[in-house]
Subunit: 143 residues, 2 copies
DNA sequence: TCAGTTGTAACCATAATGGTTACAATAAAA
DNA sequence: TTTTATTGTAACCATTATGGTTACAACTGA
């Protein structure tokens, strides 16, 4: 199963706010226009980013802004905010291996550390990239 | 979204065959007993592993065996066999960013390489572990 | 022929995703 | 104060994936 598009949408949102904030008020409608989806989808993701302390959303008057310095928001932070995993584990382990079988009894012992390492490798790579990188590259590309 | 339990079930299957093949005929019923699920689930996964050239399944007479030396079957091979991803991409990119928006036009350019690196970090870690590792560790644990 | 097994179709329930409509709550501007 | 724009959220919906189950034809060796 793929990681949901909420992640790339969230990164798109940050990029949009960063690039467009001088010229436009960043509403869910505005973002939905750039991302090409429904404003309610955007609002739900904005809520997740707000709950993670990454975004400030103003009710009534409207408009979203980024809550922290761009280099303090990593892809990992965004991923964690929008993609909630059962027990924080990337791998869904089959529920009840038969403990009467020597393999079933020990399969968790055999696999858990390795699965953790695999998940950690992915998350560590995610921590290498920040919204500041997107901002910088976006600017060099647009100039 | 988590990676499906087919992956840990498949690893469990390899371990089971390796440990139990001297004492038992490895049928889908036998495996289902150790994994604690339905034999049809096992047969479907065995088909995926067979299609990937990792397992030999005998029809009629029954029984599964491992098709290659254990150190030539990595976690990555198993993952690829049972977890099919759209376009082989771990991340589901939102479909149609608005190319009239400068951000929407460039978001793929900004993200694709980074997303690839993240996916690659996970897959490279998966390549570090083989069924042979499970076999070795299983034996030291059982002795 | 018989018994045991695989391969596969046809279902089912549940959950997640992405989308949509609707509307109350809010806050600023007129 | 009223109006306007916007958010927050509930309530749906269609589609898909997962994990499970029953059923049965096809196969193979005894």
């Amino acid at each position: 199963m793929q990681i949901s598009s909420r992640f790339t949408i969230a990164l798109h949102i940050f990029s949009c706010i960063d690039v467009c904030k001088k010229d436009y008020k960043i509403t869910s409608d505005f973002l939905a226009g750039s991302i090409n989806t429904n404003p309610v989808i955007i609002r739900k993701i904005l809520q997740q980013l707000k709950n993670a302390g990454l975004i400030i959303v103003k009710r009534g008057t409207g408009g979203a802004e980024i809550a922290k310095p761009l280099d303090e928001i990593s892809f990992y932070d965004v991923y964690k905010a929008v993609e909630s995993l059962e027990d924080d584990t990337l791998f869904h382990f089959h529920e009840n291996p038969n403990i009467l079988c020597p393999v079933g009894k020990n399969i968790h012992f055999l696999l858990d550390k390795k699965l953790q390492n695999i998940q950690k490798a992915m998350e560590d790579e995610m921590k290498k990239y920040t919204i500041a990188d997107l901002s910088k590259e976006s600017k060099t590309f647009l100039s």
